[in-house]
């Protein structure tokens, strides 16, 4: 499962724009994850400019 650290998040929308399955939505000041749609591809984890996104088993 991917997790977004609300304290690190800049609300920048980068993760939303790179997610191939439209699993992420930026709700003004937080990112909502649709776990049904998420394929755990990890692109958003790589893309976040401040490293606010982690995936279990990948990086803490």
């Amino acid at each position: 499962m991917i997790r977004v650290d609300k304290e690190k998040c800049l609300w920048c929308g980068t993760c939303v724009g790179v997610c191939p399955t439209l699993a992420l939505t930026l709700k003004e000041t937080y990112v909502e994850v649709d776990h049904e749609r998420c394929t755990l591809c990890g692109i958003c984890v790589r893309a976040c400019p401040v490293g606010a996104i982690t995936m279990e088993g990948v990086e803490k």
Partner: protein, 397 residues
């Protein structure tokens, strides 16, 4: 659920959305622009550099409220420290004015409102209304209430996120190599030359991208970085490189950070089509950013004007909705597609260069007299200095 009816609903209140709304409303269209944030333009996600040509391109008065600084040109600096200068009119769409994006975006929204466009902030378009193979508006949420907004034409001006343009079915998904991820600090107490924007290129500074210093005054500058997503193996890559850059610089020593912005830009070709029946995408949502510079404010605003004007002619009965969208598709491509294609090719070439090659390239370009700076002149200089490097660029003409 409340139902609203408009000629045009524009989703997103950035420069692209506001331009569509302004020009469509001027043409007589009943327009509603939705912005999900509670304040148009804030928080900023931008280096805030724009070409002065924006004034004439979208009919703006240069106001002190949104212009922080005016620069004479850009300096491109290689890993070895050699550099070349481009005067402001040659430097592309990010050099000229350093603006205050929050105030600028709000100013553009006001110009749309003055023409008669309706605006709803803190309003998110949640999905598209699709009927009979056409897009007929959006469902939206505003302060906890559900709205059904019906429109003859729905415009996705929803920026890099581009959820709407992708949900509609446009091919605006991006490959890794076509994304630059960014972070920027607004720093106070820097020693900047207020006359120049600076671009630091090379893999050591910013893999596949560059570091920028855009001066807002002698003491204040936007210091930011874009890194190509291909080169980002894990999170926070831009932040690490930016911290390294700042730590290495005397002129930034002791400067304080008063603002952090994040974001991403597409460095891609635009999709083959940005329209569908009843629907158009514009600006970042349509991937109109210049793939070499990462600048998208001017392109978004200009394409927005083209679309807005076509929609004005639609409500005047001069064009059918299909004709208006076709005119938009033709019009915006005429204004920028050649440039986008050329700069995409350049970006692809630069992505492959080692730091040594980048040094050679910039030294060669630095030897050319400014007035003669054209693609042909650059290639000639590179050929004379480094034939092997010129080889790489041989298909460029």
């Amino acid at each position: 659920m409340k139902t609203l009816k408009y000629d045009v609903v524009v989703v997103g209140g950035g420069p692209a959305g506001s331009s569509v709304a302004r020009y469509a409303a001027r043409g007589g269209a009943k327009v509603l622009m939705l912005e999900k944030r509670q304040e148009v333009g804030s928080p900023v996600r931008c280096g805030e550099g724009v070409s002065k040509k924006i004034l004439q391109k979208i009919e703006l008065e240069p106001l002190e409220s949104w212009i922080a600084n005016e620069v004479a040109g850009a300096k491109i600096i290689s890993p070895s420290g050699s550099e070349f200068e481009l005067s402001e009119d040659l430097a592309g769409n990010e050099t000229g004015y350093i603006i205050r994006r929050d105030i600028f975006d709000k100013h553009l929204a006001k110009l749309a409102a003055v023409e008669g466009a309706d605006i709803m902030v803190k309003t998110t378009a949640t999905s598209l209304i699709k009927e009979d193979g056409k897009i007929k508006g959006v469902l939206a949420r505003h302060l906890g209430e559900e709205y059904r907004i019906e429109a003859t034409v729905t415009v996705a001006a929803d920026g890099f996120e581009a959820r709407l343009s992708r949900e509609a079915g446009l091919k605006t998904s991006l490959k890794l190599r076509d994304v630059d991820i960014c972070i920027q600090y607004e720093m106070v107490g820097v020693k900047a030359d207020p006359l120049y924007t600076e671009f630091y290129v090379g893999q050591g500074y910013a893999p596949g991208g560059y570091v920028w210093i855009f001066p807002k005054s002698e003491r204040v500058a936007n210091v930011g970085i874009g890194v190509n997503l291909m080169f980002s193996e894990r999170g926070a890559t831009p932040r690490r490189y930016l911290e390294k850059f700042i730590a290495s610089r005397e002129d930034l020593k002791g400067a304080k950070i008063v603002e952090i912005n994040g974001g991403a830009v597409s460095v891609s070709m635009p999709p083959e089509s940005v329209t569908l029946p009843g629907f158009a995408a514009v600006g970042d949502s349509a991937r109109m950013i210049d793939p070499l510079t990462g600048g998208g404010v001017v392109n978004g605003a200009v394409a927005g004007r083209v679309l807005g004007e076509a929609l004005g002619r639609m409500v005047q009965g001069k064009l059918s909705p299909e004709e208006a969208l076709a005119e938009y598709e033709k019009g915006w491509r005429k204004k920028m597609e050649v440039q986008l294609a050329r700069n995409y090719l350049a970006k692809e070439k630069l992505l492959e260069l080692t730091d040594e090659e980048m040094n050679d390239l910039i030294e060669a370009v630095g030897s050319i007299k400014l007035e003669g700076l054209s693609t042909a002149a650059i290639l000639k200089a590179v050929k004379e200095a480094k034939p092997s490097l010129a080889e790489k660029f041989s298909d460029f003409l």
